[in-house]
Structure formats: C-alpha cells, structure tokens
Symmetry: C2
Subunit: 461 residues, 2 copies
C-alpha cells in the first residue's frame, strides 16, 4: 500500500513536472511571438499619432472607439462588440494662464486645470496665497485664514517609497479632495503641486472630486519647479506684494454617449466563463495618452492577437476590453460589471494594465491573503523568472475591473505591474507621448500578461 501511494505520488510529481515543462515551453513561445512578430508597438503608434488625446465625450474618443473595433475585427477575433455607456464630458477650453505676482513682477508658471474643475471668472482670479502641506492643515487654519485666498497645496512626493504608486497615493488627496476642503473655508481657488517626483516644468492634470457640501472653486496644478519657486517667494514676501493669478475656462457639457470596445476569443469548453484583460481607451487631453493608457489597451488587444497567431484555443472565453472613461468617472468599468451581471456571465479573473507600458516586474493580486499569494508564487514564480516578471504580490487590481468585485464576488482581480520609476514623470502631462514608450518593454508586458492569461485559462486561479 505504501509502495502504491509512493508510486502515485511519484506519478503526480512527474505529471506536475511535465506540466511545468509544457507551460514553460508555451511561455517561451508566447514571448517569442510578442518579441518577434509583435504588433502592439505599431498599434500604439497609430492610436497616439493618428488619433491622439481622447478624453471621454470628445470627437477623438469616438474615433478611438471606431478604430479599436475595426482593429480587433481585422484580427478576426470571434466576437467584437461595443458596450454603450453615458460618460461625463469635460472640456479644458483655452490654454490656462498662471502668474506668481511679486510686486510689479509677473512670473508665468506652467499650469493646467484639474480635470472636472470649474472655470475661473473670465478675467481670472487674483488673490493672496496660503501655502499648506495637507488637508488637515486647511481644517486647522480655518475660515479666518483661508477665506478669500488661493490655497496652495505643496506637499511633495515622499521619495522613500520604492514603488512610485506609494508616493502618488500619499500625495493624491491634495488634488482629489483639496479643492473642496479649501472651499469649505471660503477659499476662492486652489493650486496643487503636480503629483510627481520629477523636478520639471510640466503641470500634471488629473481629476478632482468636488464634494456636494462645498462650493465648486477653480482648481489647477502647477509644475513642481513653479511650486518650489512660489514657495520660496512666499517665504520672502507677504500680501499684498505676493499674489497669484490664474485663469481657466474649462467646463462641463452634458453627458455624452460612448462605448467600451470588447474583443473576444470564445472558450471551447466554457464559453460563458470569462478571463478579461483590459486597459482604458480614454486619455487626458494634454498629450497622446501613450503610457496612460494607450499601452494598456494595445497590450490587451495584443494578448488576443498572440493567442490567435499561435492557434491557442482557450477553454474559457478571453476578452480584451478597451474601457471608456477611467480618467474622470470610471463609467465604462461600471457598465462592464453591470452588463456582466445582467448577462449572467461567470468571471474567473480580470487583469488590468494601467500603470504604463514599462518593463514588466510582475502582478498584484487584489485581496489575496498571504497563503494565496504563496500559492500563486508556488504555481507561477518559476515560470515567470526567465522573463524577470516574477514579482507576484498582494495588491490592487485596477479601477476599471474593480466594479466586478461587487457583481462577481470571487473573481480574481489582478493588476499588471510594470516598473514604476518613470510613470509619474510623464503621467497626465504633455510628455505622455509615443516617443516615451520603449518597444521591447511594451512587448514584454504584453507577453507577460498573455502568459498569465494562458496559465489561468489552463489551470484556474
């Protein structure tokens, strides 16, 4: 009996080893396909250079929907369809202006309205500036200090974080909630130090979220160099000599009709079970939305292209989803989950790629406890090691796939994790252009994601 047990376990071990060998051969083929025949880079070039910025509700967003659909139809995926969704429609309007006013001197600063922000009066706002490092400081200073002023949030990134998303998370409340907190105490406007570790001349946009219990006041980001300059000036000069002026003419239009674009390779065994790979098709209006998130949507399409080119017939249905409206509403992500529930789809896993098209480091598994992370490492780490994409950790999945958590409890939500060092240098700036994407880094990311999809399709998660 003991002997039988032993030989069974030997058999199982042999089976596992054989499986791992097959898997490692498949992964090598997936990477070869991506690196030798990859189309993700040229697709990204088209999206960036022929379409360009594509904020929700814009004509370019519509163009990108139509092109994305055509692209996937051209690849001959089993299904390609649109999911209609109403999205917020915000427009920046004329280029913003901002000055540090130092007595008679006007020092122009690189500035841009925060996404979803309201306009200044046509003549702009001129006011005394109060510099703060946190929302709490505004609460503490209260109306007597804040009223009538422009609040200047100037807490920099904490550079000690190894992954820059930690620093972004730590500074982000200034942009998201800073304007409404300042408005509660009578501020007339808000300027925010750009959310980046870089010391440069680019203002970073990004959404602010007005709360219902405060007036909506104009809010803008200024470059980190300008923030340092303003802060230095405020140490030397006081009101009325020291003031700030800014002017912006952004506005909200009525919600617009738009779409998620979905491509699918239908599963041979479980057509109603889904593994989703997605990024967002919309992008900020200041540049081309290359790393944020042209790389993510083009990688998602590339995953299906690789499957098709290699003749992989997945057991479950694999979908590439080009989500609409991640930047200022996440309406596409919400719609995808809503329809998934309405259509009684079963969802196994969803992988989001929205942290840039940089060299892959691994994946983060949302809500996985230590034991389950360990299990992921036992199953997958060795396979991803040759591709240096073997960092498998607990962590967030992503904004667009997040709503599946509510509609499909138990779905595995997974974030693709590329190297994070350069992302916030260009994120939401005029620098987020095709030229700042490296072809091989982008291809390696697509291959890593395709590999994980392959493994999950084969062995579950």
């Amino acid at each position: 009996m003991k002997k039988t047990l032993l030989s069974i376990s030997t058999f199982l071990l042999a089976l596992t080893t054989a499986n791992a060998q097959t898997d490692s051969v498949m992964l090598r083929k997936i990477f070869d396909e991506a690196l030798v025949n990859g189309q993700v880079y040229e697709n990204l070039r088209y999206l960036c250079k022929k379409i360009g910025p594509r904020l929700s509700g814009s004509a370019n967003a519509q163009k990108s929907v139509e092109w994305g659909k055509k692209l996937m139809e051209g690849y001959g995926f089993d299904k390609v369809f649109l999911q209609e969704v109403m999205v917020p429609h915000w427009e920046r309007g004329a280029k913003e202006q901002g000055y540090i006013i130092d007595g008679n001197k006007k020092i122009p600063v690189p500035i841009c309205a925060l996404g979803m922000a309201v306009a200044t009066p046509a003549a702009g706002i001129t006011a005394s500036v109060i510099e703060v490092k946190s929302l709490a400081e505004v609460e503490q200073l209260g109306e007597s200090v804040i009223k009538g002023k422009i609040v200047f949030y100037n807490r920099p990134f904490d550079n000690r974080f190894i992954e820059t998303s930690g620093a972004y998370g730590g500074a982000g409340d200034q942009r998201r909630s800073g304007p409404s907190v300042a408005a509660k105490y009578g501020a007339v406007g808000v300027i925010v130090r750009s959310l980046t570790a870089a010391n440069d001349d680019y203002p970073h946009t990004g959404t602010t979220q007005y709360s219902d219990d405060a007036p909506k006041i104009p809010a803008a980001a200024i470059s980190t160099k300008a923030a340092d300059k303003l802060s230095a000036m405020l140490k030397l000069r006081k009101f009325p000599q020291a003031k700030f002026f800014f002017k912006q003419s952004c506005r909200m239009l009525p919600d617009a009709k738009s779409y998620n674009v979905v491509g699918e390779i239908t599963g041979t065994e479980n057509p109603n079970k889904f593994i989703t790979v997605g990024g967002h098709l919309d992008s900020w209006d200041l540049a081309e939305g290359a790393h944020d998130d042209g790389t993510g949507v083009m990688q998602s399409v590339e995953v299906l292209r690789i499957f098709k080119a290699m003749g992989i017939k997945p057991k479950n249905s694999i979908r590439a989803v080009l989500f609409m409206n991640e930047e200022n509403g996440t309406k596409g992500g919400l719609k995808y989950a809503e329809l998934a529930a309405a259509n009684k789809e079963q969802h196994i896993a969803a992988i989001e790629t929205d942290e840039g098209g940089f060299t892959p480091r691994g994946f983060s598994f949302e809500g996985f406890n230590a034991a389950r992370v360990k299990e992921m490492n036992t199953r997958f780490k060795k396979l991803f090691e040759p591709y240096e994409a073997d960092r498998l950790v607990n962590g967030g999945g992503g904004a667009d796939i997040g709503p599946l958590k509510q509609t499909h409890p138990g779905v595995a939500l997974i974030g693709f994790r590329p190297d994070s060092q350069r992302y916030f240098d260009i994120h939401h700036t005029p620098n987020d252009v095709f030229e700042n994407v490296n072809k091989r880094e982008l291809e390696l990311g697509a291959a890593a994601i395709a590999s994980l999809v392959y493994l999950i399709d084969k062995g579950g998660i």
Copy 2:
C-alpha cells in the same frame, strides 16, 4: 544534550534573525539616504553637461579626471589619488559622410566610424557592396566575391533574448572582428548595421579590433533604418548601379598619459583588504557618455558618499574607482590590477556598474557555480526583495574589474545588473545624454550597490 543542542540552534537562529533584521534596517537607511539626499544625479549632470564626451586621451578626459578627483576630495574621503596609465588616443576627425548610390541618386545615410578604425582616402571610398549576415559567410564567399568590395554586415539583434546583452553579444562580432575578416579577402571597406534592436536613424560607434594578419581597412556603422534601406536596395539593383560611398578621417595619435581616479574609505580593521566599486570615466565622443558610463562612475562615488554621510565605518577599505579607457583599450582596468598586485593589496570583491543607470534588477556573480549562487540567494535575496533588486545570478563581472581575476584569484567579481531594455537604444550614440537618465532609477542603483558593499564588508563573500 539534545536540549542544549536545540537551545544553541535556537540561539543561532535568533542571532541570524537579529542580524537579518539589523541588515534590513541598514539597507532601508541606505536607500533613504540615496533617495532623499542623493547627489548622484546632480553629479552626473555636471559630468555630462559641464564636461561632456571624454574619450581616452582627449582634453575632456583629462578634465573629467581632475574634476572626479576634486569631487571626491570635496566629500572628504580618507584617500583620493590618481593611478597613471598610458592610453590609446584615437580621434574621429571631421564628421563622416555616407551615401547609398542608386544610379544617379545619392541617398545620405547616418554613419559613424567605428572606434579605432582607420580613415578612408581623403576622397572617400566608392565601391560595390556585398551584404552578409556573418563572418562565416565572408569566409565562405572568399576573395573572388569579396575583393574590391565594401562588405556590409547586416545581421540584426535577435530579439528573443530577454536581456538585451544577449542580443548585443550575439551580433557584436560583426563590429569587433568583421573588418579584419573582410580585409583578409580583399575588401576595401566595411559597414556594419548598428548594434541595437531599435529601428532608428542613429549610428552606433564602438571599438573594432584589427587583427595583425590583415590590412587595416576603413570601417563604419550605419543606422538600422539605413541598413534596412540599403539591404532593400541591394535586392533590386546590382553593381554598377548600386554602390556605397563613405568617407571618414579618423586617426590614431601617440598613446597619451591619463589616469584612473580612486577614492577610498579606509577599513577600520583590515585597511589592506579592499572592496572595489567602479565604472569607467572615459566615454565615446558622440554624446555625453551618460548611461555609458557616467551613471556608473557617479554611482561608485555615491556609494562612498552614502557610507560617509551615514557614518558607516567599514571594516575593510572601500574604493570607488573611476577607470580610464574601458571603451578602447581597458588600460585603466589592467593598471588597477597591476598596481593591486605590486602593492600587495588583498581584494575581497569588486563590483562593476557599466550597464547603464537603469532601474536595478540585481547582480551577477562571475564564475559562481550553482551552489554558490544559491548561497548568495540565501544570504541576500530577502534583503534586496523590498527594493526589487533581488535577481542574483551567475554572470559576468565587467571589463574593468576583469583583470583582477589574474592578479587576485579568488576575488569575487560582481556585475551590477540594471534593467537592460533601453540600454542598446542609446549605447554609443548621439542619444547617450543626461536627459535619458531617470533620477530615481539612478539613485536606486547606487543604493543597491552600496547595500551589497555594506553586506560584503560585514559578512564577507
């Protein structure tokens, strides 16, 4: 007895754990110092922007020696000194010219002489072109085909390599040995497809090595786009309609006197035992030598600066070595080993950083067998994991520390391994400039190297 053994092993385990905890605290402090107070980026800015290209024997190379010495003296290291060394002195001369000649059409191509190459006649060389993919192909074609022609080596990078150094290694013989092999069969000149995976308009220089048994013929690199264009043209047209023209006026001057620059923090216990960290101070003449290897020399200085700033008093002597002449002779590396032997220095380890200032991935240990690599991983992997620099593998140390192998058998030779994807896009091109270096990536690399030096100093290797 058993109990005693158990408690001893428990005690040892506790000791190891305590040690690991102390180490992890120290590494965190080293990274904080590099990320919060780092000076490596501003030092690199100076080297690139105030000094610039610094090929061995040039006036700029001498400037960089003087500045490097002054920089380290300013930091107050225990010793700062020069090591005199004679180096080859090659000059590019006037900007090269190259044309694809297609009948009456002259199509200009981006071209640059290979380092150490000879000039063409003043009027340039015009000849029929024979395209080959390998040195073996030239040998096979022989004199009847090769004689009087320009040989065009056009084997591209193999993109399947995950680390690009593999692709560089695989294509590099065309540049290094291609000219002399072609000359043996009577070729009048050689052009080489630039050693890069990038598809762009930049020619990549780099040393060619003339052998003694063949005439020295002019040799140059052309951009990958130009190589593709020439190859396409050669498929359509034959001699005499299809020709190539190039002209270069580079020359060898007499060997020049130059220096390695050495900074040292002297060991408290073993002043004559050394751990070396180094990169090379010389750089190609086409740009600023930012990633190759300004980042490496500035990281080496930063390691010592971090030690000093943190008040770490190493047991062994720690040296930062700015090697001269890695690009076209490695005379500095040879001199360092020669003097180390002559001065009866004991060398524990040497770490070279010469693969660019990109985000750190780990280290390669030269000649370490599987058991010793495993030991490195057991000791260090967990410590480097939080910094995503935990890839510890068998592999090369580096060209400048290599000569220590002969003089100091047993010394551990270690290569710093940053992410490799972008390196050969800019390596040896006009694009190797400060702007292409990311501050945080550079700082993280310096911290990773300082951490390894700290651990080796404390626990040996």
